[in-house]
Symmetry: D4
Subunit: 218 residues, 8 copies
């Protein structure tokens, strides 16, 4: 069996304002090499998500040399995207175990030229930590909120600020919270107004939604 040929959606940027990106999990080495080679040939920067550190060794040295891989978020940036600049996006998380997802969001924004602010470890068990950063959060134009377990951070935050809030439930948690469904459902069922959510652990998708909102505001 052949492994199939990738059909890159380079036109996506023109249609949606969002760049084509590669979800590396489940792709074979040969498929990844073909994709990176096409990007190199066309001299396009490219974002890869869910690229395990252990797979880097399988790539040929010349391609690897152009890959900026981040182990925490398992993202890689191929080639040279524009320099990021501040645009009012803040990424806030409830606990340190959420940092890989924070990282995926921050790197996705960076790839599209947006440098995010990061506020970490402000879960509601110690509410003062969130209140301490409230001025900062109120100043944000868009907030990406990242939390696992019961995701109470989403509701509390949405009741306190006026910016659009994109919830990213994470798979952090055990027992009933295993896999992130409790945090996801908390975001969906929130009593606080005007909260939207993306899939569990989907920092990439949250960042892309934030980019759509930034474009809408132009």
């Amino acid at each position: 069996m052949t492994e199939g040929t990738a059909r890159m959606d380079w036109a996506r940027d023109a249609r949606t304002g969002l760049p084509e990106a590669v979800y590396a999990e489940g792709k074979t080495v040969a498929q990844l090499i073909a994709i990176l080679s096409e990007a190199a040939a066309q001299d396009r920067p490219l974002l890869l998500t869910r690229l395990a550190t252990s797979r880097l060794a399988d790539l040929p040295p010349d391609l690897r040399a152009n890959l900026d891989h981040d182990a925490l978020s398992q993202t890689a940036i191929f080639g040279t995207p524009p320099q990021p600049a501040a645009a009012g996006v803040t990424v806030v998380c409830a606990g340190l175990a959420d940092m890989p997802v924070v990282g995926e969001a921050v790197r996705t924004l960076a790839f599209s030229g947006v440098r995010a602010q990061v506020v970490t470890d402000v879960g509601v068990a110690g509410l003062w930590r969130l209140l301490e950063r409230l001025d900062e959060l109120r100043a944000a134009r868009i907030i990406i909120a990242v939390a696992g377990m019961e995701g109470a951070l989403f509701s509390v935050l949405a009741g306190l600020v006026s910016a659009p809030i994109i919830a990213v439930p994470t798979s952090v948690g055990h027992g009933v919270a295993t896999g992130g469904h409790v945090a996801l459902n908390s975001a969906l069922a929130s009593c606080a107004p005007g909260l939207v959510t993306v899939n569990i652990d989907n920092g990439f998708g949250a960042a892309q939604s934030a980019l759509r909102i930034l474009h809408a505001g132009r």
Copy 2:
């Protein structure tokens, strides 16, 4: 088919400190009449839960005369239990739609001689409402917290006070929250310390747990 004979657990009080109680849903009229008649014969007060207002008309007048039925909570007190007195138990809820469950808890406590404080409509969407009542809540010896939807109230409260907190998730909510499972899972997966929970809409069970704690403190 015979409808079967109730075997009342009158000894429960001696073993557990908690009175026998009757879950009226699913019982036939004949069964309820037999139970009430036995309680009357032994001159024991008796608590009934989940007794729909529409079923009252099926009971004979003499039994009905001794029933103090509350339409909101669908509870009935048969006979005359002791006068309730304050004991440091506060029942707090997130929204007005939670009041039937608050009522079940309050009435169950009252049946066992405990007069509860009630704090209503302090959901976290408007956090100031909870903070406004914080002194009161911090003064409580035991807190029963009642909330539906995403149940963020449980976590916020547990991070702010030192009393034992018994969460009662309610079936209030729509979409993914239908039936109360999101609030229940939020209580279970809470990032805040030392929260316990009972079944969805189980104000009765929360009250009984509070009674156990009161006894333990004696």
Copy 3:
């Protein structure tokens, strides 16, 4: 048992830019009357959602006279909010059975001064219906997309336009789609970039998110 006292979050507008609103389902008549009377006393307009037509008859005539109730969306506007004006928000739906949810979104936007465009019955089974309206959809600043069943509309739309897209999965559908979870999960798992979602049938929440985005763009 008392039915409890509502604690209206009138300060929400100042904190979040979004008005307090009342979720009528599960509230007693006495509770609704108290809330409407408070709004009347303070001369504030108020949005009520999930108010069944059959309950209108329970309200006193003077309050009812100030209620503009819409049977399709089960929403009511109490008092006189500002006149709505166009702001670039388009609400699009897959089928006619989604119209009650479309209505909830449109009315919530109208209550906050935004007059939405509506595009109906453009499900992907006949893709030409969507493509026929594509120019209109591409011109929108924000899109609220409403669909039940398998919710394929969300992904197709997100691949074609650049505006922020807020998916509202509906409970329309039978068999595995009963209750709307398939459409919800399709929105969450979408292969298309930058899609966000709210709870099933939550036209209200989608509208409130759109308002946050409009404010962010100012």
Copy 4:
């Protein structure tokens, strides 16, 4: 404990037009050897699915020599089936991570003498990719459509062509899509007409259904 004796259903072909095949997962080495030896003794070709590459080393060299194993699809063809010829079956997939399932379908068809067309990476996020191949797809007599995540490809395709469409949802995806249930439910709940589905990742079953349809058309 003995490992049991296989009872091969060699008569299946006569009853159903479909050859007996072996699901290798969960079978012991001894069981596999006995099955292959029986096929060898009767000089029958045999298809094996879900045979991990790592297990090949456990088989005796003479049996292994007659096995054509494909690493991508984890299928093996034992002996020499007829040469495949074109019959109007097209296998189309949404992304490259679906290729193992595409491979299982293609190899199952090949084993029964049918050479399939393959169309890869035409997910609806970039709709032009599908539309570009539409003439090809419209020319197909039967379509097997393979997709994970939210499976929107199934509905879009079913609205555009007249051939029978067999959906194969795949386990590709994360968060709520983990394991393939979202894609499966999308196929089942599709608003587009006349779509049928098989189990998650079941390329084998889809191919066998296609063979039934081919036979029915004779």
Copy 5:
């Protein structure tokens, strides 16, 4: 709120060989009237499914006069479709409670000119009932198999005949089988080869798939 305008997919027939059809559940009376009026104006026959008998009274007499409504299957045929003729399609069911779904399939086929054979009450609890009809079933070109509870009929049938088999799991059953998920999963997980399935109770979809297969065989 306006109730929206239907956008009928009259072109569906040309694209897919399948006629546009109306899912009546969830549509308002005004919406149904507009749709029927459009069909009348264009002199097109139209199939409606899930049209409750109780709703007929809401339609104006002239439209009702052209509606052939079947109470068992809750289907209605508006106008005059072609006379049905035999085409080798057999609909078989496990129990009498499955007949409404059988009826939906039979009526959908009839609307497109296909007169189906029906074999009823041949569930596997008494296997002889199925075996007694085996010659008939083996002679069919396409089989639609309808069953609830544990759906064992699907597997047994698929092991005995060579025609394409479209399973329609029904919501008949209680306890774990409530709603039809067990029968659906049995169809999906079947050990028998080449079975495909549609959504629970979806006789309409099964009939449409059969029509696709008939067209493919031409």
Copy 6:
């Protein structure tokens, strides 16, 4: 649409030792009448389950005259089965709300000539109630145990007696116990040895299993 013809499995008794029975839910009046008429014509007694009291009025008087209907268990015995005699089967239940299911088991046994013992309201919340009846339970040859909520009765009983125990989980309970899945899973996951279970509320199936065991012991 015709309503289809029942194919009664009168031969079941010869094959399995268990009589054909009719599951009345989901059958139309015409279907029920045809079945009863066939039984009358052949002079066979017949058991009907899930026959709602409200449907009796739809049956013709001559058939109704031969029906012994029990409102609690919703069962009907048509014609005259043998007189029941004791055979060592005891049916025990946890609470009075389980009595309809107890009744279905008792009536099914009676139809096949077995008169059961009944022990009611011995749930483990008051363990003494069960222990009080232990001698009786230890004397039983077969036990059918009926319980809802958390079904702890099953495990406790299975640790105390040596007879075969058939658990019948019931749908009695609220919150997470709604529908009976918790009691079912408790039976399946029991730490006590040699417990078997049937579907939720399936008193009929439990009785039939008991009959198989009685036959095996002959």
Copy 7:
């Protein structure tokens, strides 16, 4: 932390007729050694289930010398139980991948002195395989039926024989069948009469139930 002390239920045999047994999974080496030493000291044979082959090396040689471990079923018999003799119990399975569960049942029966008959690989996809063995199965006093995937074997068998049938659903299967829930639900929802079931993969429990039935027949 101490690892705790086992409290062996040696009295179980006297109460229930079933011997104490050890579920090895999740127990530490020290716990297992203490248990085996106690059995050795009291000179009692002991059955262990779910004892992974890899753990044998952790046990001291003298204990290991008395362990008869079976790799397929992951069971071990410590000491010398009585010689097994035939008692009319037949274990039948649908496929070879079910053999580990068959083995657990066979070994549990053997430990209690019962030598079972085994019938393998008679899944309903090739119904003739089951029918070929029907005389044998009809002669059995008790049948333990083991099947994964959709578990259609349970219903077919229960319609054909009169012996008690204990279904053991297995975790064999993929996609929706992963983990065995489909086979379990098929057993529970079966349309065939008098089927009982145990937990997924619970060959041990099925054997213990069979022992109870054997005792009841004495």
Copy 8:
């Protein structure tokens, strides 16, 4: 990407009476080192849970030297908390496989100065084991009950004693019990009065709830 900075909630003790604690799973080595260093710098003892033994080697020797790690419960105590003293808390478990969770509870209590009693292996399959220890259990001021599988221990215990009972369902079990949801739901749906529960395997949370109750009793 930076790994983020921990924001320790040292003030938690003052607010809630419960010490800050660290959930080690999902935290990077660098994050753990920073946290331990901060605790060391402030000379505060600190409890860590879910710290895998394999991770100890990653910590610098000086920090490791102050860590008292327990392999069974995967907890670590950093620094020197107060000496534990008896306070009436008893931890009871159903089986030996529950000991890691028992350990987490015991160590959490110890960290806060409470030395617990432990009663092991008293599952209800052999009820005498529990009854044998009943006096001890009745003497407890608070009971933490730990059980997996079907969790029947919770209900039996709650019917026998008067102390507050905190159920800790464990993930011990297979088939339907996999992951602990059956035990959890049994605790929630219990027919016995006044039982509360925490998340699956959450020995830590149960201990913290016990501490709240102890404080309330002061």
